[in-house]
Amino acid sequence: MSSTQTSTSADLGTDRVITYSEAVREAIGQAMEADDRVFMLGEDIGVYGGAFGVSGDLYHRFGAERIRDTPISELGIVGAAVGAALVGMRPIVEIQFSDFTNQAMDQIVNQAAKIHYMLGGAMSVPMVLRAPLGSGTGAAAQHSQSLEAWFAHVPGLKVVMPATAADAKGLLLSAIDDPNPVIVLEHKLLYRTSGPVPEEAVRVPLGQSAVRRRGEHLTIVGTGVMVSRALEAAEVLAADGIDVSVIDPRTLTPLDDAPIHEDVSRTGRALLVQEAPGHVGFTAELSARIAESPTIYRLLAPVRRLSGLDAPIPYAPQLETASVPQVADIVESAKTLVKES
C-alpha cells in the first residue's frame, strides 16, 4: 500500500546511520577535501565547534584558515563571502541562528541575489549560507523563526530545507557545487535525528521533490521538520483507515511542483503544512499553483493549509508547542479534510 521513498537504507544503498548534523559536517569535509576553493566562515565554528556543534572537528582537520572563526559581524561576514565568491572562492557561511540573517540582509538580498543579474551575467556568486531555523528549543521569538518564504521571494536565491540526514548531506553538496547563492535552512530539531547516509559524496539535485510516502486518500506537503511530523501523522491516520501521501519539496527555489500536481490529482485532497506563519507563506504559493492549474478540477475538497500561528514564537513550552503544527494537528486536519468530502 504505502511506500516511503529516499529515506530507507535500501533506497539509499547504505546501512550506515549518522545524525543530520554529522551529515552536514561530512558534506562540508568532503567538499573541502575535494576543492581548495571551499572554506567555511562563521561565529564560533572553530575550536568551539559551532553553536549547534555542526562544524565539530572540522577546525582540527582543516585549520583556522579554512574553518574561519569570525567576529560577531553577520553583515560583514556574509559580505566577505560574497566578495570571496566573486573572485572565485566557494565560501560556506554559517549564521548561528537564521534569525540573524536579518543583520546580513543587505548582502544576501541586495548583493548576492542580484549581482549575476545586474551585471548581465558577467560575474556570479557561488556561495552557501547555512543557518538553523525553527522553533522547539525554548529560545523564544528572536531565535526560533522560519523565514524561508522571505528568501524564496527573492529572485536569484536558491532555498533549500533538508528534512533528512541523507538530504542534509546530498543537498548541501549540490548547494556547494551550485554557481549561485544558496540558502540552506536546517531545522534545529533535526540536528540530532539520524538516518542512513551514503559515505560517498552523493549529490541530491536541487529542484527535485521527494515523495516520502504514497497513499490513496490525501496528499500532505511539507518541508523541514514537518516532513517527519507528517510521516508520523500518516502512521496514526493509517490505523484509522486513512492512507496519505507525504511529499517533501526539499528546495523552495527551484521548486519541483510536478509531483505535487500529480499526487494531488490522484488523491483529490491537499493538506499543506508549514511551521512558518500562514499569512503569505510558502504553502500559499503551493495552494496558488494548485488553484492555477488543472489540478484544481481534481479536488474533492478545498485545499487546506495548516501553519504556524501569525504570531511570534513564545517561550513557555506549552505555548511554543501550541504555536506550530504538531503531529496531532496534522492528524486532525487530515481527518477533517477527508470527512469534508
Binding site: 561576514i77 566578495g83 570571496a84 548582502q107 548581465g120 558577467a122 560575474m123
Partner: protein, 325 residues
Amino acid sequence: MSATPGTDHDTARHALLTMWTIRRFEEAVDDLFARGLMHGTMHLSIGQEASATGACLALRTDDAITSTHRGHGHCIAKGADLTRMMAELLAKETGYCRGRGGSMHIADTATGNLGANGIVAGGIPIAAGAALAFKMRAEDRVVACFFGDGAANEGAFHEAVNLAAIWKLPVVFICENNKYGMSFSTEKSFAIENISERAAAYGIPGTTVDGNDLDEVYGAVSAAVDRARAGEGPTLVENVTYRWKGHSKSDKNLYRTKEEIAEWRAKDPILRFEARVKESGLLTEEEVQLIRTQAMEDMRAAVREANAAPDADPSDLLDAVFARA
C-alpha cells in the same frame, strides 16, 4: 606601479588623459540626460577626478576595486571600455550589463572592477572578502575599496574594516569625502574632524589627504598598497574632495551655497595638475592640448558607437537570474 605622476612624463600624460576622459564622460552623460536622451538617474563625479585617477594609478591591472553609485570615474580610471559604459547607460544590449544594471552596477572583470553599488557601503564588505580570497590563495593582489563619507556611517563599514584589520587583508579603504551624503554635511554627520581618525578604532593607519591633488592621492594610496602587498594589512585613506554637480538628478542644491560651489570649482583637480606639470616642464602646452582633444574625441566616439548599438533585448529577461553550472 608607475613613477609619481607629477615627475614622470608618461605617467603624467596618462593621468591627465584619464582625468579629462572622466570629466568629458560625465559631462556627456549630464548633457544626454538633460536632453532626454538618457533615462534613469546618474551620480556624477565631476570635481572628484583626481581621487579616482590617483588611486587607480597606484594599482596594477590584476588588482581589484569595488566602487559606488558615483562610480563612472573609478570605472574609467581602472581602464574600462568607454563605449561599453556608455552603451550601458544608453540601455543597449552591448552595455557592460546588457541594460540590466545601468549606471550604478557597472563591473568589468577584465580590469578587476568588481562593481559599482547602489547600496551605500554595500561594496565595503565585498572588498574585504575579495581581499580575503587573494590572501588565502597567496596571490599578490590588492583590493581598493572606494566609498563616500556617508558610507562611513553605515554598519557595513565598521564590520568590514574590522574584519580586514584582524585578518590583515590586502585592502585599501578609500573614503572619498566630498562633504555631503546627499544633503547631509559631514559637519552634521560626524563628531570627529577627519574620517580617517576612525582607523585608530580598528588598529590600522589612517590618513587624510587633499583629494583634489593627484600627487597626494597617488602617494597616500601607493603607500597603502605597498603596505597591503607586504602583508601588513589595510589602511584607511581619506580623500577630501567635492562634487560640483548635485547629488543626482533630483538635487536642487538647497543645502549648500553658490559661493561654496564656486570656491571648490576654483580648486579644479584637473587644472591644478595641468598647471603643475606645465610649470615643471613635464608636459608642454601642446601636449596638454592634444590630451584634451583626445579625451573629447574618445568620449564622442563612445557616444557614437554606443548609440549605433542594438537596444537591450527584453526577450530573455529571465536568462541571467541564475548562473548556469
